[in-house]
């Protein structure tokens, strides 16, 4: 099963919208989902590992292979392709 990790900060004005977007998708599609604050220890390690320099950012992973990162509010179509693909 794919895992989606959404990275946000408290200051980012688009992050609440991104949370709504991904939570809605979670109710329609099967995937593991987690929200991480970029300023936590885990968040810092993720932004280093995936070279994330902007939030909101979502990492789509499956067994550590073919990871895809979406920055900002992504197109629903492209996200569904990444989840189903």
């Amino acid at each position: 099963m794919k895992k989606i990790t959404l990275i946000t900060t408290k200051q980012c004005p688009k992050c609440p919208m991104a949370k709504v977007f991904w939570r809605e998708l979670k109710s329609e599609y099967e995937f593991e989902y987690e929200e991480i604050d970029a300023l936590t220890k885990l968040g810092q390690s993720l932004i280093e590992d995936f070279s994330i320099m902007s939030v909101p950012a979502a990492i789509v992973q499956e067994n550590g292979k073919d990871d895809v990162t979406f920055v900002g509010l992504p197109s629903r179509q492209k996200v569904i392709q990444a989840i189903e693909g």
Binding site: I47, I52, M53, V71, L73, R76, Q77
Partner: protein
């Protein structure tokens, strides 16, 4: 080929800032089937911390005000989807609005997509956007703790951004093409006191390089023509805003700055003419209205929606107020 939605909307509103959301509220209250297509909800106001000039609120947080607009638009029946509109074309009595994913059909269109941050238009900028190139200091600044960054711009937004970044980053290069800043004197004075901010004046960015993320920014001094290489982790671009109306230039008239020309009813014109373009309306910062304020955007969004309603019902019924006075 893109899938076309079967439903025909009464109006499609392009943009979800103050103008677009207000158009959604008024269209909904007129029982119009309205769809708002937007990249975000709130537009530029999302990046404004405190607003002190929106009537009814002595002080309100920008994103909170926009959240209220959004809730109200949805409550009134407007549908909101996140996407980017690439084209608006006329097809008989309808308009076809094309996004990255689908085509949508509508009887009227309200253009309310505001302004977008200006690009530097240098090599590497587009490719590294989101990977060290940022247009939102408030959003991405906290990710640059103890890192080295460049801030480009000389206005108040750039100065405030550089001050903000100086509290987080190890070093900030403030790059501006002129010899002095355009921002408020007190903002300039404040940033002069910061020991970790280096001014790089009379200079422009010529290239941004990096593989996975930004590694190097090249700066050219306009007086000496010398190129300087700065090893940095990110670059923040705050050089102002612009209207991007290229994708609708064949549909409606725009002025020399690309702003959509409207009349007092928020109606638009055919390109290069003074003939009203039926069914296409515009509101807010994307128009040639001189003052760019939330209250004006909201007012124009209202006018555009009511005029769209009027256009749909022309000759059939008069425009009626949708409120009643409270009788004592």
């Amino acid at each position: 080929m893109k899938r076309t939605e079967e439903v025909v909307y009464d109006t499609i509103i392009v943009g979800g800032g103050g103008a677009g959301l207000t158009a959604g509220i008024y269209a909904g209250r007129r029982a119009m089937k309205a769809l708002i297509i937007t990249r975000d909800v709130g537009g530029q106001v999302l990046e404004t911390d405190i607003i002190e000039n929106y009537p009814g609120f002595t002080q309100i947080h920008g994103p909170t005000l926009m959240e209220n607009f959004e809730k109200q638009a949805k409550k009134c029946g407007a549908e909101i989807i996140f996407s980017t509109v690439n084209a608006v074309k006329e097809n008989g009595n309808e308009f076809v609005v094309t996004t990255d994913e689908k085509e949508y059909r509508s009887k009227t269109v309200i253009l309310a997509f505001g302004k977008t941050p200006k690009n530097l238009n240098v090599h590497g900028e587009k490719e590294l956007t989101g990977k060290g190139v940022s247009y939102c200091t408030v959003c991405d600044g906290p990710l640059y703790k103890n890192k080295v960054v460049v801030m480009v711009g000389g206005g108040n937004t750039a100065l405030e951004g550089a001050t903000y970044l100086s509290k987080i980053a190890k070093k900030v290069y403030l790059v501006h093409r002129r010899n002095e800043f355009r921002g408020f004197e007190h903002s300039v004075e404040e940033i002069r006191k910061k020991k970790n901010v280096e001014f790089v004046l009379s200079s422009v960015v010529t290239e941004i390089k990096g593989e996975k993320k930004v590694d190097v920014v090249y700066i050219k001094n306009l007086k000496t023509e010398k190129i300087r290489e700065l090893k940095v982790d990110g670059i923040f671009i705050e050089i102002g805003l612009e209207v991007k109306t290229d994708f609708i230039k064949n549909l409606i008239k725009v002025d020399e700055n690309g702003q959509i020309v409207i009349n007092c009813k928020c109606e638009t014109y055919y390109p290069n003419t003074d003939k009203i373009r039926p069914g296409v309306f515009a509101a807010g910062d994307v128009t040639d209205t001189p003052f760019k304020q939330i209250v004006i955007s909201a007012g124009e969004g209202c006018k555009a929606a009511l005029q769209a309603y009027n256009y749909l019902h022309e000759g059939k019924q008069k425009l009626m107020a949708d409120w009643v006075s409270k009788k004592k």
